[in-house]
Structure formats: C-alpha cells, structure tokens
Symmetry: C2
Subunit: 403 residues, 2 copies
C-alpha cells in the first residue's frame, strides 16, 4: 500500500469460519440494528473444513460504485441495507483514522471491490451468512488497517447478520444481548479459545437441500410476535443456561455442555412450533438424529454426544475426540456407505475406528430413517477465528481472479 497513485489497488484477504450456536439466537428486539432478544453462545468450527475466503480491495481506477461478488455472482449491493450498513460503518472508522493522520492514503474515498467465496456448497444448508459477513467485515477492516479489536468489530458484523458477530473469533464465543438502545453493548466475546478445549468435534448430518419453509429473519419475528412461550425463554430460560454453559466450557464438562446444548435446541424449536402460524424446521430425519444421540448416550451409559439444530433439518452432533468411535464410529456404521463426505482433515483417525455402539442398541426406525435421509456428512471440530491470508481473489491490477 506504499503508492497512492490513481492506479494503486489496495487489497486485504481473510478467511472466516462458520459457527454453530449451542444457545440459540432467535428473535430481534431491534430489526434494523440486529439486536437480539437474548444472549447466545456458539462454537466456531474449523476452517480446515468450512470457510469463507474474502478479498476486500479498493482503487481509484474502479467504477464509482462499491461492488460485491459472491461465489462468482455479482450481488445487488445497493439493495442490501445490511451490507451497506457494514461498509459505511467501516468506511467511517477509516475516515476518522485519515482525519487524524494526513499521511494516510484516503482509502475511505475509494470504491470497494469485494470478492468472496465459500468452500462449501450453499445447498448444504449451512448458515453461510455468518461466515460471509464476518469475512467481509474482517477483510475491509484489514484493508483499512483499522485498530479496532474483533470484539469492537463484532458490533459492525452483527448489523450484517446477527450470528456473523460470533464468527469474528475462534473457540467458544458468546454474543451478549446488551442493554443499550443503540446496540453499542451488543457484542461478541471469546468465552474460551479453541486451545482451551480443542478436543471438541462436530459431525454435521446434512439432511436435505430442500428450500427452507420460512427464512430465519422472517421466522424469528413471527415467533417474537406470536409465541406465548418465546418471551419466557428469552427472559427466564436463556440467562440461566448462558451462565451454566459458560461454566461447563470453563470446566470442560462435556456432559453438562451437552445437556444444555440439546435442551436449548429443543426449547428453540418448541418456540418455533408455538409460533403462529407454526414453524417447523426439524423433520422426521432430524428426529431420528435426536433419538440416535439419546440411544448412543443410553447405550454408553454416559453423555458422549449432543445434538443441535439451527433453522433447518440438519443435525450437528458435538462430541469429544476421545469418544470418536462411540459417536462418529456409530454414525459411520449406519450411513458410512449411503452418505458422502467421509473425508477431509478430520477423517484421518475416524477411518480406522471401529463401529462404535452396536446397532442392536439403536432403534431400528432411527437406523432406517438416517440411511434414507442423510445425504452427506461434514466432519469438523472447534477452530480458530478469521485468518489473514495472501490468497487474494483480486489481482494486483484489480481484476477478479477466476478460479
């Protein structure tokens, strides 16, 4: 970024991870600012399995309007209030840096070209918007050399997509609901780094690529406005669970972590069902995954696995590496042949483990339901936050890289 000539192209590239909540975010108390009705907590998943790669660049040679390209497709950035909010917040921070130091190039005045790619198919039904907005915010902040911490930047990412604020950090991340009307205290923060409890694994069962019945932004507001049970969860149930699961994470107490995770997933889907009209994200295959986890835990005689479901039918099963055979080994003995995805960096050890729990101890309807309904698995585990890389998606001369 030495030159400030009209032809200069400034670039910064970052990766950002997906996160899967164990205390669910559902419901906004302020729709514009994306302020949640309750705090939430997630596990950041390894970018060795799932990541968004984003290059933010700016140059005087670009056409005047900011542009965003996602997975090879130009986006209507001007109609996306959420994207515009993130960019204008970041540009304002850059502007105040420039105002305080005349030697800095006036990047805040230059059009942005942002290019982003996911390494996983959108069809997998994973919350790609969290990784996407986290990467966008991180990349532009790096391009602008902003001094703000990840926690401070989470306020901006939150305005892109609520759960994006939790993808700015690795490990175990809480998003505090905050109390202020302007949302300035509604921030994500690291509860514990990945290194504190690196043995956490996540096995994602991709159930269906069917289109969601109700998009989450719409669904959560239906719940807020119509469910009689929702308010009780937000005010009375979640605060206790946040305290309890943070303690479980600090103590690396998997059975406690698991029970809270499963119960909060169930409570979240209960408030969806209690909405009017009712919202169903889980289906019979999801229910089979729930039963599988309970059957495994019962067969083993201790809690070795936990399920959680976002706003869709996919199951995410958390377990500790030491129980890989009992959990992932059992799943593999059921759908090892019928589902794809048994590969990648987390598969190495799993390739050689035994079949886990005997299928005699699993409900036969569960076995057939999973065989028929799970098309793909993703093997992953807890991981780090965004990483700055040199794998730019925009060339030195400002062209998009064709991958």
């Amino acid at each position: 970024m030495a030159s400030t000539s009209n032809q200069s192209v400034y670039r910064a590239t970052t990766t950002a991870p997906v996160n899967i909540a164990v205390i669910k975010y559902w419901g906004k108390r302020d729709v514009t600012l994306n302020l949640p009705t309750n705090s939430s907590l997630s596990v950041t998943l390894s970018q060795r399995s799932l990541r968004t790669l984003t290059t933010a660049s700016c140059s005087a040679k670009y056409p005047a309007e900011d542009t965003l390209n996602l997975n090879g497709k130009p986006q209507e950035i001007q109609s996306s209030k959420r994207t515009l909010a993130c960019i204008s917040n970041l540009r304002a921070l850059r502007k105040s840096l420039e105002d305080g130091d005349a030697s800095l190039p006036k990047l805040s005045t230059l059009p942005l070209r942002i290019v982003s790619e996911n390494n996983f198919p959108t069809a997998a039904g994973l919350a790609s918007s969290a990784a996407g907005f986290a990467a966008l915010v991180r990349a532009v902040a790096d391009l602008y050399s902003l001094p703000q911490s990840a926690r401070e930047l989470s306020r901006i990412a939150r305005q892109g997509s609520g759960s994006a604020c939790r993808s700015l950090m690795g490990g175990y991340v809480a998003w505090r609901t905050g109390e202020l009307a302007d949302g300035s205290d509604s921030l994500a923060e690291e509860v514990a780094p990945a290194s504190h409890w690196p043995e956490m694994r996540a096995l994602i069962l991709v159930v269906s690529a069917e289109k969601k019945d109700v998009p989450s932004t719409e669904g959560m507001q239906t719940t807020v406005h119509t469910s009689d049970l929702f308010d009780h969860r937000a005010k009375n149930v979640v605060p206790e669970r946040m305290t309890a699961i943070e303690a479980a994470i600090q103590a690396r107490d998997f059975p406690k972590f698991a029970e809270i995770t499963m119960r909060d997933s169930n409570t979240f889907h209960a408030t969806c069902l209690d909405s009017w009209p009712p919202i169903f994200y889980m289906n019979d295959v999801s229910r089979a995954a729930v039963r599988l986890v309970h059957d495994i835990n019962n067969a083993v005689g201790r809690t070795v696995a936990a399920y959680t479901f976002d706003a869709g039918p996919n199951a995410v099963i958390y377990y500790e590496e030491k129980d890989e055979e009992l959990v992932a080994g059992t799943v593999k003995s059921i759908i090892g042949a019928s589902a794809t995805g048994w590969e990648g960096p987390f598969y190495e050890k799993l390739a050689n483990v035994g079949p886990g729990v005997s299928l005699d101890q699993i409900d036969s309807r569960v076995v057939s339901g999973l065989k028929d309904g799970v098309s793909r698995v993703i093997l992953t585990g807890v991981g780090e936050g965004p990483v700055s890389v040199e794998d730019h998606l925009v060339t030195e001369t400002g062209e998009m890289v064709n991958n």
Copy 2:
C-alpha cells in the same frame, strides 16, 4: 331388578363417546387422584361413528372377585389401581344409598362382572381409555341407580383416566382443574350441548398404527418435571384460552374457535419437545396435515378448518358442515383413493360434494405426504353423551355374550 334371590343377575348397559380436546390436558398436579395442572376443553364426538359399549352386572352367583372384560379379553383388574378406584367409589355411593333405604337390594355386596367393547380398532390410535372409563362409570352408576349427576360422576371417571371425565357429557365439555387438594372440585361440566352448535364436524386422519414412543401418563409427567415452558403454559396461557374458546363456542364463532384450537395444539406439542428427553408425537405426516389446513384456509380466504393433535401423530380436523366441500372435499380429493374409511353416517353428503380447493393451491409436498402417510379416515362430528341401551353384553343369566 325386582328379585333379590341368589340367582338374580342385575344389569345396566350404556354407550359412551370419545372426546377430542381443543384445549389440551397435559400434566398432573396429583398423580393418584389424576388432578390436572390446567383446565381443558373438548368436543364430544358422535357415537354413530365411535363408541364404547359397556354392560355392568352383578350377581351373588358370580365368583367373589370383580371381573372386567375388554374387547373379548379378561383384564387384570386387581392390578389396575385406576379401575379399582372407580369401582370402590361407585360401590361406596351405592352402599350409602342402601344404608339409607333398607328396601334396596344390597348390590354393593355383590361381585361385579363388567364387559366392554369398542366399535373401533385400538390400532386407530384413538384415546379409547376416555370412552372406556366413562362407559364403565356410567354403567356401574346405572346398575346401582345412583342419583349423582354426570358432573358429580365425572370426579370418579377422572380417577380412571383424566380425559374420561369429559366423555360423561355430550357437546362441548370443560374439565375445571379445581383448587382443592382432594380433587373434589376437579370436575367436568357441559359448556354447551351438541344441539347448541350441531354443525361441528371432525375428520380424523389416522396416520400410523405405530406404537407410541412415550405413553401419555409417563410423557406428561416428564413434561411437568423437566420443561421450562410447561409451567408458563399451564399458569399463563391456558386460562386465557379457556375463557376465549368458551366465548367462541357460545358465539359459534368458528374462526376464533379454530385459531385457539390450533394454537393450543401447537403449544402442547411445543412443551413436549421442550421436555427432557424430548417427546415427539407429531411426525412429517402430521406436519403435512398442519400445512394442508393452513393452505386450505389461505386459499379460501377465511378460517374454515382447524387441526389438533393428541399424544400421537393422528390429525383431527374440525370444520363446520357448511364448509364440508372446502375441507373434507379437499382432503378426499387428495386421499379419497389411498385411504379407507370414506363411509358411515357422516359420509352421505360428502359422497356428492365437489373436490373443494384446487390442489394447485396446496403445497405439493403436503399432497404427497398425505397420500403416503394417511391410511384411514374417520368421518364424524359433535355428538351426545352416554346413552342407556338394552344391547347388553351379559345375558339375563349372567353369561358374557359372544359377539
């Protein structure tokens, strides 16, 4: 009952109906007395479609122990605390009659022979215990010529099976939770007779004869002890709904009746899902029925149908006779060929109605889900309470009739 010789056989026979709650009973505050955590309200279904027929008889010539035969099978009456509670309560009432009038035969001292038959298969997954205990209590009360009203007898039937207390009356029946510890004020009462709103129809979609995952008695106590949302429903949500649905019934306001019915079914199943471990009674076919009803109501532009689900996957769809074509006609156009049960006293008019709502306006997954998942329908409507009949299941000489 003129003769009191040792060879006399005293008999009384009654029918009793099934009822389907629109405000659900779920959870006991006293397990022994079957005292509920919340009030509930049901529609009594016509005995032209579904009924239990029960003969209560007593005679000095019977072996000393009371016996009960259900659908041709002798029951272990001595191990059924609930049956014993009903019988001993009724016998005590007879005893006090006899104590006050020496001319009465001492029926309270004679062994009982009770024979009962349902006219519907247990496999249909209908709550046969409600009709069964209501018939048992009504038949024994008739045998004993008890002066107590149906409302007073409901206290006894409740101890057999909670929802049985609502099957002692026809039409629209509330079961008041009551406040007293001994349960003496936890009684059923008629909110409105069937004749007040005789146009109410019920179309039961029998989804699966699969064994229930969790029996309701066990399931409801799991919910009481583990669901964080349950208590909120019982204390805050149900009382308002009871008031509102009673007003809707008085006003014959179907859209209001329908919305409360659907929402309470959803809230009930939400508290099941919020239980630990979670309880699922609805499956993908149930969800298809939910969507069907919403799609029909949306297509018609007013609320013409309401779904409700008990502790199982079967859907009960309420509608008014005038909307038969829009509701039952639409269902018939989907599963008229694949499901059995398109017959009986409520079918006469339906045989000639058109196809209802165009299937273009119904989600295609709903159509295929119902075609694959509904094996049988039962067409019925609101009906009367127990009726005394001469169709005895015990002969004049005390033998069981072989049907």
